[in-house]
């Protein structure tokens, strides 16, 4: 099978979908790996490294059976191929999905790989969220015009920074762990009841607030919450936010706009010099004032909406993504190395968006019909 590794089209994207080690694994099992020149440079993997791993590096790679990318990518980006595997954001851009279907390209979305115990090695959402959570905490620490840890020095006692993490999924938990490592006093909050124990298992405090038994959908995701819960949430969080030096928000609901957790009023009650880091910026942000990709200063409080967090640790993030991809391909290929997308096998079924020129993912179809 001819596998092409894309040079990422997005401007700030520094990651690469396959690292040289992954390329060599795939070559070893008989695939032809073709890498667009310069694809890995930004992540610290020079073209020579790919060549050393048995891949062909070329500026114009031509047609392929499978295109690998981090994403998101369009039909134009992938060119002539049978299958594309990337973060495709199918729910965010259903139109693009239809275009894949029309072009006869089977689209596999990394974000649709199920979040089960079994599939964890293919779970790129988790691996990239790990990087994002870690970088979010570091970003907060270096942007903050104060120390994170407590320091009792001859020049006075510096109290520890208070960090509040809203949304304790993979990224949130990693942010909690990293901020705790730096010595901050950390609390966390999530709508899912199971999150309390998980937050506390990292030595952080759980902020009392509404949790909804029903909030956890199958697969561990949170669902959307009703208006009443939202109101009680805001009340409960208002104090905690005002007391914090750093608020890191990571709350997401798959396929929906990010829940609005931090309002303008809440920001206004924060101390000057305080910081909000919004990891949900790409889906609209958990903070009312977030501008995706930019830093807003509101009455002395900075609201950062970074879009490139995993790219900030591009080397390891690509490494993990690449392993996820290789592991997934291991599941999707048969003994001869041909790709078999079997809609009944759980892993593939949930990853597939289009197949044989058809949209097979209900929610995308639904989204398109809504539009129409």
């Amino acid at each position: 099978m001819r596998i092409r590794v894309l040079r990422e089209p997005a401007e700030r994207e520094r990651r690469v979908a396959l690292v040289p080690r992954g390329a060599s694994t795939l070559s070893d099992v008989g695939h032809d790996v073709v890498v667009t020149a310069g694809a890995g440079t930004a992540a610290g993997f020079p073209d020579e490294a790919y060549e050393g791993a048995g891949a062909v590096v070329t500026a114009d790679p031509g047609p392929a059976d499978l295109v690998l990318a981090v994403g998101p990518v369009t039909v134009d980006d992938v060119g002539d191929t049978g299958v594309v595997l990337a973060f495709l954001d199918p729910l965010g851009s259903p139109g693009e999905m239809r275009r894949f279907a029309e072009a006869g390209i089977t689209a596999l979305a990394m974000e649709l790989v199920p979040r089960t115990t079994l599939a964890q090695s293919m779970d790129a959402l988790s691996s990239q969220a790990t990087a994002a959570g870690y970088e979010a905490a570091l970003l907060a620490a270096s942007r903050l015009p104060r120390f994170m840890p407590m320091l009792m020095t001859a020049a006075g006692t510096i109290p520890p920074a208070r960090v509040l993490v809203l949304g304790a999924g993979v990224a949130g938990l990693q942010a909690i762990a990293t901020a705790r490592r730096l010595g901050a006093v950390v609390s966390g909050y999530d709508i899912r009841p199971a999150a309390k124990e998980q937050v506390e298992s990292l030595g952080a405090k759980f902020v009392g607030g509404p949790v909804a038994e029903t909030a956890e959908t199958s697969g561990g995701y949170a669902g959307e919450v009703d208006e009443e819960t939202r109101r009680r949430q805001q009340e409960a969080l208002a104090e905690a936010v005002a007391d914090s030096d750093v608020v890191i928000t990571t709350a997401q609901v798959p396929g929906r706009a990010a829940p609005r957790l931090v309002s303008r009023e809440m920001v206004e009650r924060m101390k000057p010099g305080a910081l909000v880091v919004d990891l949900a910026a790409s889906t609209g942000g958990n903070c009312e004032l977030t501008v995706p990709g930019e830093t807003v200063d509101h009455r002395g409080v900075s609201i950062v909406g970074p879009l490139d967090l995993p790219s900030r640790t591009a080397g390891h993030a690509s490494d993990m993504y690449s392993r996820n991809v290789v592991s997934l391909l291991g599941h999707l290929t048969d003994d001869e190395g041909a790709l078999v997308v079997d809609p009944d096998a759980e892993v593939a079924a949930s990853g597939g968006v289009t197949e044989d020129g058809e949209l097979v993912y209900d929610r995308v179809r639904a989204a398109l019909e809504d539009d129409a």
Partner: protein, 458 residues
């Protein structure tokens, strides 16, 4: 040989028993303690023979030869797993001996008018010895599976036992007051019956405690025999065993989280496979911190497999402390980290870094699985799914195909968690029911603290 010299030798033998018994209480000295005690026994028997005016030879020689042969045979042939029942049988023989000596003395002195205290101790010796005899053999039969190990009860059981006990006491009083042979032998007979009836309702799982108690009784019987024949060696050793047996019984009930009256009169107990000192929960074998501490201390390699439970209990510091202590004792330790242990990528790393565990002790999946077959004890601390063998063995399992830490390849598996409840994946874990797996049911932090203090006494 003068009586005085003989008595001093008896005293020395008794001292050997005391020292031997003390040394039996600690793993490091136990073997030498047994040797010391047995030497004391040899000396006591030899000095008795030297001192004796022997009128009849045959009974002595025949008894020593037959008894010795049977003893050696049983001791060397019986399988390790049948130890508890063997001890029960030996104990029964000991009780029988005491009763027989007192009986022989009674017969011999039938025509002599005896002081009250002599008759009393004779009867007590016979009664206690007889209860020990039959009680021990019922225990033996239950453990050996000759009769059902489950508690056998019937309506009115307590009443019958009570009546029998009262009857036996009445017979003792009667015999003691009149030196009437009928009463004497009836008392002995009812004691034999009582032994059977009291032990029969008790379940197999509780048998070890019962044997310990019967052991204490057989000591008491020997002491009473000592009163009968006015022999201080018997009195001292008998009292020693009687008292230490009681303490041991108490220790054993404590280890099982039971009370003695509960064992004796509760008339309930686990299933019919009660072996060793381990209590049972379902089919999983539970164990105690003390036992785990010994296993750890005597291992040459220990691998820890931490999981989400370690994080929930925030037991990382205590775990580190335990491992440091083991390292100081020359045990090789390592931590086997499963990639998805915990609830976020790197969860275990966060915890163990906080506790300052050296990075080079952290092994990944493959390294750990290479090491496990050469590992004496693997300590699974609050992990579950990541050590679930059905991911490897059971194609029907929802996690079939996930790579796991194959802890079942290690010689002994100790799992520390609070219950048998499942982990994140919500599926049952066959690991818990393996023979080589011992469950230590406790909060992980508490378990670690207990293990550290238990280790100090090993």
């Amino acid at each position: 040989m003068s009586d005085a010299a003989r008595d001093l030798v008896y005293l020395a033998a008794a001292a050997a028993f005391i020292i031997g018994l003390k040394r039996l209480g600690s793993p490091r000295t136990a073997r030498s303690g047994n040797l010391i005690a047995s030497t004391g026994m040899l000396v006591a028997v030899v000095v008795t023979l030297l001192d004796l005016e022997i009128i009849e030879w045959w009974a002595l020689v025949a008894g020593l030869v037959v008894g010795g042969a049977v003893g050696v045979l049983l001791a060397l042939r019986v399988q390790m797993t049948s130890m508890p029942q063997l001890v029960a049988a030996f104990n029964g023989f000991g009780g029988a001996a005491s009763a027989l000596v007192a009986g022989a003395e009674f017969i011999r002195l039938e025509q002599v008018e005896l002081p009250v205290e002599t008759i009393l101790t004779m009867i007590l010796s016979v009664v206690i010895g007889s209860i020990t005899l039959t009680g021990s053999f019922v225990a033996f039969a239950k453990l050996q599976g000759l009769v059902s190990g489950s508690p056998v009860t019937y309506p009115g059981m307590r009443f019958v036992n009570g009546a029998l006990a009262v009857g036996a006491v009445g017979l003792v009083v009667w015999a003691q007051a009149t030196q009437e042979p009928l009463a004497f032998w009836l008392a002995g007979g009812s004691a034999l019956l009582l032994g059977i009836l009291v032990v029969n309702p008790i379940g197999g799982a509780d048998m070890p405690v019962v044997i310990a108690l019967l052991n204490s009784l057989s000591g008491l019987a020997a002491a009473m025999t000592g009163f009968v024949i006015t022999n201080s060696a018997l009195i001292i050793s008998g009292a020693l065993v009687g008292a230490s047996g009681l303490i041991l019984t108490k220790l054993m009930t404590e280890a099982m989280n039971r009370s003695l009256s509960n064992v004796l009169f509760g008339a309930f107990g686990g299933g019919d496979s009660g072996g060793g000192s381990a209590a049972e929960t379902g089919d999983a074998t539970s164990t105690s911190a003390d036992d785990v501490a010994i296993a750890l201390a005597y291992a040459s390699r220990v691998v820890v497999v931490p999981g989400y439970g370690l994080a929930v209990a925030q037991a990382q510091h205590a775990l580190r402390e335990l491992m440091t202590e083991l390292e100081a004792r020359g045990v090789e330790v390592a931590y086997g980290i499963h990639p998805v242990a915990g609830r976020m990528p790197g969860h275990m790393n966060v915890l163990l870094a906080e506790a300052d565990v050296p990075y080079d002790q952290l092994l990944d999946l493959d390294q750990t699985n290479n090491l496990l077959p050469r590992t004496d004890v693997v300590l699974v601390v609050g992990a579950n799914d990541v050590v679930n063998p059905s991911a490897r063995d059971d194609a029907a399992s929802p996690i079939y195909g996930m790579p796991i830490l194959e802890v079942d390849k290690a010689a002994t598996v100790v799992v520390i968690k609070r219950s048998l409840s499942p982990g994140f994946a919500g599926i049952d874990n066959p690991l818990f029911y393996l023979d080589r797996t011992k469950m230590l049911f406790a909060d992980a932090k508490k378990a670690m603290t207990d293990l550290v203090s238990a280790l100090e006494t090993v």
